[in-house]
Amino acid sequence: MLRFAVALVLAGAALVASFSIRATELKPWEGGATPPLALEDMGGKTHNLGEYKGKVVLVNFWATWCEPCRAEMPSIDRLRSSLKGKPFEVLAVNMAEPLSRIEKFSASLPLGFPLLRDRDGSVGKTWKAKLLPASYLIGRDGRIHYVAYGELDWSSDAVRAKVAELLQ
């Protein structure tokens, strides 16, 4: 019975793996100037991207209904933890969901970065975040340098190298 259960779990894992080969990569941004972003987090504190100048910022648009968004969150948190003490911040912007849903998600997956609320999705539209997760890596100069649409392993060497390049 135990052997059967293990086999079932392994088969399930193989199926999940075969269904989630990642096609996403960080690509150089060619979309022009950084749009403004000033949004409240779940506690009501406003985060203004303009005030983060001098830091590398990952702006990540996400939703609880977006499976790849949820899947990549832990890797974002791992990246953030590994850069502790360095000028690196994450602003995760939820797209137009009720506070109760975000709170439920946050309780199930505690994260070390603020979850901001784009209440009507208008900020996401300004950022052209049509395909979620939509992630923008902003350099210390305040400009967007890289973009990724889709799930990414943010703790991978390839991503770390690009973040390190921006931190220099």
């Binding site: 269904f19 096609a23 790849p68 395909l131």
Partner: protein, 360 residues
């Protein structure tokens, strides 16, 4: 459908039926829906590609896009746009090393019923000269000269305003066409052939394209709007809603015309003919009260148990090997090893679309 939901919708339908259509519509607010499209390119050899239409990106007073996401084993997944009409689609590509190409695309959007109050010509929206020209121009399958214009001039004789002309064409379509259940998919919208054949049967892409062609040919800006039904009708019409959560074959296109003072006006003569043919017990007479009510309602309003994708024609699929021009993009398209699969045969690509309303 569970009993509680059924009772709720039955009660809503009963209330709605006791109200004039417009009053019932005005009481509705925004509803949120999710669609999940799963595409498998079967028996794929070589590079595979797929194109999935996405909800219209532009926010309107009746639809707002909330976002899309995907998961699967694609090598590339990008939002692409048709240059002329701005049609949004998710383009996916699988390398020849991927044996079983598969993707799931999730889209969320909000909709709200829409209606035009013809007693108030106070809409500030106007069309630029360029837009007016764009929405009165012919397309490959919708000419605006020859038999189309001749027919439209006859139909609109004596009509003084754009609304009069639009209404005359609407009534003519309802009175003179029929829904042909044998038409593949939603039809192709070959307006000239339809008129020349004298056989005015078809489905929404034929009948509403005929409307658009006739309207454009007499200078009334008009456009088809392609999409898919996502929920049952709450107004007592079984034929005008998605019967189940599986909406793989629930594609439907509608139409709009533009009139100064009213903006874009929703119409759907093809759905009137659908009520005639399909509303139980079927083959209803044109004077049946359900048909009469639908006919009145569908000149000026839409129930938004449907999501709009786009209003494009003559669509070139980006990166398609043989770059065929489609009359419109309403279905999932896929190709493998350079051959485009039949978009009207979901089993040749194996795709399913499911929809659900988000209530919490």
């Amino acid at each position: 459908m569970n009993r509680r939901i059924f009772l709720k919708s039955a009660a809503a339908a009963a209330i709605a039926q006791s109200l004039p259509w417009r009053t019932a519509f005005a009481q509705d607010g925004w509803r949120t829906f999710e669609t999940v499209t799963r595409v498998e390119v079967r028996d794929s050899f070589g590079v595979a590609r797929a194109w999935v239409p996405l909800p219209m990106e532009m926010d309107t007073s009746w639809q707002k896009a909330l976002g899309n996401s995907w998961s699967g084993n694609t090598t590339t997944a990008e939002v692409k746009h048709d240059g002329k009409y701005g049609i949004a689609m998710l383009y996916m590509e699988w390398s020849d090393k991927v044996m079983n190409p598969v993707v799931e695309v999730t889209s969320r959007f909000m909709t709200r019923d829409r209606a035009t109050d013809f007693a108030r010509a106070d809409s500030p929206i106007d069309l630029s000269a360029a837009d007016r020209k764009f929405f009165t121009a012919p397309t490959e399958l919708i000419p605006t000269d020859g038999i189309v214009r001749k027919m439209a001039l006859d139909i609109t004789k004596g009509a003084k305003t754009d609304v009069d002309r639009a209404r005359a064409i609407y009534e003519w379509i309802v009175d003179n066409t029929f829904r042909d259940p044998k038409t593949r998919g939603c039809g192709v919208g070959d307006v000239k052939s339809l008129l020349e054949s004298g056989n005015l049967g078809g489905k929404c892409a034929d009948l509403n394209a005929l409307y658009v062609g006739l309207a454009r040919s007499v200078g009334v800006p008009a456009r088809d709007v392609y999409g898919v039904r996502v929920a049952p009708s709450r107004y007592g019409y079984k034929s005008l809603g998605a019967g189940t959560a599986n909406i793989t074959k629930a594609q439907h296109c509608r139409a709009e015309f533009f009139a100064s003072g009213y903006g874009w006006v929703a119409i759907d003569p093809a759905d009137v003919r659908k009520v005639v043919l399909e509303e139980p017990p079927g083959n209803l007479p044109i004077k049946d009260e359900k048909v009469v009510a639908a006919r009145k309602r569908l000149f000026g309003s839409w129930e938004m148990n449907w999501v709009a994708y786009n209003n494009g024609h003559d669509v070139k699929l980006p990166h398609a090997t043989k770059a065929p021009k489609l009359p419109f993009l309403m279905y999932i398209n896929a190709e493998s090893d350079g051959e485009l699969r039949d978009q009207l045969e979901p089993d040749s690509v194996r795709y399913t679309i499911t929809a659900r309303e988000i209530t919490a």
